[in-house]
Subunit: 678 residues, 2 copies
């Protein structure tokens, strides 16, 4: 046996020679192997578990003898008897190298482990959170070498963890002395390393070795809904996902009406800021309760939002966003104390991070979609639409990425729809209309049965059938078009024209009765001519935005489409294409990214390097301003027809034949005119 | 004439060759000549005025022709006609080099000018304030290259002033857009550059070019008094000096009684923190009113204080400072937002800086004295005593500096003295007692007349004669000793022993009647036996601390003594030495440094580099702990006698002969015992 030995780590493949007696953890650190440790090698935290492999390893050119590591020691015995340990495992800080050895680092011992989410959108995120726990042993005060307790804690963090120049606020300073004494000069700190060159900051500390949870909130602050994921900062697990309506809706349904509210009402922006901050506090409380944790265990919050929500969250009057040149007060990312945003339902020292905006109309939510979907890494030309009250649209591939936003309005979210409601139990979410009988069947959230399945009435008894949500209205309109009850111009036919009583007159237009619950005391759920118009406006805006990017890119088709947004997962690609929401592509090239903005927020929450990445990326995304581009208006008008007045949809036509009906050549939807012609 | 020309700047002597046509300001910047400019060379601010010199300059080896600079231009004409300019002056940003030239930079055009204070302690401070005004021209927003207004402001600061990575808080972000538009994309920012590697921060901004004042507070937060200087951050001028009693006195007169209060009363530290912060707010308001400025124009506040005041200011329970090992929660300097200290009577964005502490009993006030008096740069052995409720004592020279603090109590400040009061009009501040007649004469604050001068009664009619202040009691006790009315043990003699009715019995001891105002309805002002005891305790503590440092230094005499402290300027060296407050030195080697701690605070306020300097210096000051040093007690007991029981005072004896009286060999001051012996 030589004086030193070869140590090979898997799965990284990193290898090096070390003097006999070197702890495995030390070898791992020197090689830069990703092996976790909270206690810094003191045999307390058990995070550094490793699995030695014995025998011949021709692949590595090494043979591992039985005595390649030191025998089990008392620390390991105690740990195993007290808390259990998988057979074959060792503590990396206790086991020392005594001969050539192959060491496997299991996933749960890696700091930067890839974690698979169980809930929320499935996504592997490499864990590299800003805040983590570090155990330290602090020198006791010495009257003859006087220094402050904080300065000795800082030295301990430097010497034991390589963390330089830590800071802390006065609240932590106040708690420091009792905690250090209670822990007999041992303590665990929650350290926020920040991004860029921010100085690391101690957010919290506990006496002795502490293993409590650190949690973070990833918040997608939309015009209509505020959605949050509560994540464990240790492994990225989503403990709970929750959402609520944005209370700013009472000041205006869409972005521009809120900007107008701020312009017309002095102090209106302050009112809206207060409302949204209160809602976020309420959301933090409810999501923490749902997950069974204390709000004080939430140490970080990451925000993605459109520019108007961004400014109102930060307490900045959004008035400049309502007029050209749509100047943002600040476009860069922001790292701040959560309490600067009056977010009091978090740990008092919690940090906030707001993703950068791309432009005055393309916000941090679009940046988050870019972070999640990475169009700049795509080989083929991908169109990503994040459907909300405002649609964020990205188009690009490895060579170039374009972005715009388009004011779709809240129709896709079920607002401004006569029977519209948010996606909640009782809401109709799927619709089919028989092209022969013109009879509908549907499904409601909360039951897997269709309305013509046996037991449906029983299954929906508790929720009732209360309305129609965003994906339901899209399907309903597309089905009406496919069943020949709606013409390309967007007019619902009369009972005589369509041959069904369900197309019933409502004033001078017609509505389609989707479900009449009045006999059971429920609502009558209809698709009105006004609903069709709202959907037409929304889908025209969406399509026109996509077309504008395609013009700028110089393409007239895209390779694939990704539907993102809170209900992106629920939109049927076929129905979206019948409606002409998105450009014509093969149906199997339309995929859903779920809540991509929310996923982007989670990535930024769990991985500090991703923050730097998106901050760099946004500078390379070219932004197209829909509001001042004359072509936008032309695209918008042409997209008003269902699916489109001029663009061919060959891929759609190959699978769906749309009935060639026309209920009013004039297209004005006027009973009077129709009668005159009839 | 050649293609370039030689430019020589005086008084710096810096020189270089520049292409013809180079503005003088540009040449100065490239050579690192200290030439001010707020507007960055746009001819707006006039800070860059220079004086060209013409003719032969053999010393510089150059001859300056008449056309060495370009002719006066329109910008200069306009400036001169509007605001006036000294003959011979030019604007450095407008005048361009056309030939060899000698350029004088007058003191008022230097950024780092040395400024002589008119009030407060006279002191030259090189100006290098943390916060200064910078004028910038910001690019307008461009829809096609979207960035935030803040990001374009940051670019302007980088390109026009070389300031990288500025930050700002949300309150400033909120104001940014209206200000930039009002100033048509020109603005002036108040930039705080911070010390160390802190990122520069915009504290305030104004549309266009702005010349308003930036002010700072230097606060000496003492146990008994809080003293503040309001300084102009442009030139260091002291606009007003003010003080008030520390309201914490109601929780305990000295440091240890306040620590006890915190220990005995849960929440007591919070109460004391609130009290002192409220007092500082009140002081800020009154000093701003006195100077005729708005409190919002105060952008910085610097604190010096002893460790207990330090912790209570920061909101940290000082309990650990009451017991060995006297551990500070934090000893380093602190840079923070003033509003973290609830200081609301300043600009909302005002920054705070707290000097570092040296040890658990030797605080930031001692550090400030070290910064002001620089014992580490002294060739001879200097003893610096900062007299207050706690005395900070420094001893050293170039080779080594020692420090300790000694609990003198508040007697030197007129507290715990029967007729004691703070130094205010009406207080007796000077005392003489005729050694033959034993009659006193005195002066009161507010009048230059002695009490036996004609017109004294008239002159003091308005203030009255209300009590005796710290310097007055010191003189009174020393005069009693010199007049033979007080013996070395500290006993006041009886009327019989002293031959004067003014030594009047008070219970079992005697008091000296300094002034009887009872006929005019004023108080009877006496020096009681209790007053003598209080002064003895205080001066013994002070002397014992000094001796302890001399022991540690291995010297039995010092070369000179500097008396510092709020009333250091008013203590007569002779009386201090008769009392035995300070070690024996030639009288003309005793000087006053005035409020050296306050001066140190002003230096740190006006010069950022000084902060770095003192932060480095405190690590080299060796601290001696009086509380646990057994020799301290011995020194204390021996110092109880007036001037001293054992130490010879040859320098004092050479100029003063102290009567060899003894009023009670037992020293207990008991009438009963005296009677038994008599």
């Amino acid at each position: 046996m030589t004086e030193d030995a070869l140590v090979i780590f898997t799965p990284s493949g990193k290898r090096g020679r070390f003097p006999l007696g070197t702890p495995v953890l030390t070898a791992a650190r020197q090689l830069g192997v990703d092996l976790d440790s909270v206690c810094g090698g003191r045999g307390i935290c058990s995070k550094c578990q490793i699995t030695p492999s014995y025998g011949d390893f021709p692949k590595h050119g090494v043979t591992v003898a039985d005595g390649a590591l030191t025998e089990w020691n008392a620390v390991e015995e105690r740990y195993k008897s007290k808390r259990g340990m998988i057979d074959g495992r060792r503590l990396g800080c206790q086991a020392r190298v005594m001969g050539d050895v192959v060491i496997d680092v299991p996933p749960e011992s890696q700091v930067h482990k890839q974690v698979i989410r169980k809930s929320a959108t499935q996504r592997d995120i490499v864990m590299d959170p800003a805040t983590r726990l570090l155990y330290v042993e602090v020198a006791e005060p010495d009257m003859h070498e006087p220094t402050g307790d904080f300065e000795r804690l800082a030295i301990a963090l430097r010497d034991q963890w390589g963390v330089d120049d830590v800071t802390a606020d006065l609240t932590l300073m106040r708690r420091l002395q009792p905690v250090l004494r209670k822990g007999e000069w041992k303590a665990t700190v929650a350290l926020h390393k920040g991004n860029h060159d921010a100085t690391p900051r101690i957010l919290d500390l506990w006496p002795g070795f502490h293993e409590g949870g650190l949690y973070g909130l990833a918040i997608d602050l939309g015009s209509t809904t505020i959605a949050a994921h509560l994540c464990d900062l240790k492994d990225g697990a989503v403990l709970a996902s929750s959402g609520l309506m944005n209370p700013q809706i009472r000041f205006g349904e869409d972005l521009m009406s809120r900007v107008s509210y701020a312009m017309m009402n002095p102090g209106g922006d302050v009112e809206m800021t207060r409302a949204v901050r209160e809602a976020i506090n309420a959301l933090a409380a409810s999501i923490a309760a749902e997950a069974g944790i204390e709000t004080t265990a939430i140490y970080e919050v990451v925000f993605v939002c459109n520019p108007v929500m961004h400014h109102l969250l930060l307490g900045i009057d959004p008035v400049e966003l309502g007029q050209a040149p749509f100047a943002l007060a600040t476009s860069g990312s922001l790292s701040l104390d959560a309490r600067e945003l009056d977010l009091t339902n978090l740990n008092r020292a919690a940090r906030g991070y707001v993703l950068p905006c791309i432009a005055g109309h393309v916000g941090a939510d679009a940046a988050a979609v870019a972070l999640s979907e990475e169009p700049g890494k795509s080989k083929d030309m991908v169109l990503i639409v994040d459907v909300g009250t405002n649609a964020e649209i990205l188009l690009g591939n490895e060579t170039r990425v374009l972005a715009c936003s388009s004011p779709t309005g809240p129709a896709f979210e079920g607002a401004q729809i006569s029977s519209g409601q948010r996606a909640a139990p009782g809401a109709i979410e799927r619709v089919e209309i028989d092209p022969v009988t013109k009879e509908p069947r549907f499904r409601v959230i909360g039951s897997d049965l269709w309305s013509d399945d046996p037991g449906f009435a029983e299954a929906t008894k508790q929720t009732g059938i209360t309305g129609i949500c965003g994906s339901g209205i899209i399907e309903a309109v597309a089905e009406l078009r496919m069943a020949g009850l709606l013409d390309a111009g967007g007019l619902i036919g009369s009972p005589e024209q369509t041959g069904t009583w369900r197309c019933t007159p409502e004033g001078r237009t017609h509505s389609y009765i989707l479900h009449d619950g009045s006999l059971e005391g429920g609502p009558r759920i209809m698709v009105t001519q006004g609903d069709i118009r709202a959907i037409q406006l929304a889908k025209s805006a969406l399509y026109a935005g996509a077309r504008l990017l395609m013009d700028e890119m110089g393409v007239d088709k895209v390779d694939r489409v990704t539907l993102a947004g809170a209900f992106g997962a629920h939109i049927s690609p076929k129905h979206a294409m019948v409606l002409g929401m998105i450009p014509d592509v093969p149906l199997d090239h339309v995929t859903s990214a779920g809540n991509a903005a929310g996923t982007g927020a989670r990535i930024a929450l769990c991985n500090v390097a991703a923050r730097n990445q998106i901050e760099a990326t946004v500078h390379h995304i070219h932004k197209v301003e829909t509001a001042i581009e004359p072509k936008f208006q032309e695209h918008f008008v042409n997209a008003n027809a269902i699916p489109h007045a001029t663009d061919p949809f060959p891929e759609l036509n190959a699978i769906v034949t749309l009935p060639d009906v026309s209920f009013n050549a004039g297209g004005a939807g006027s009973e009077g005119r129709r009668r005159r012609r009839g």
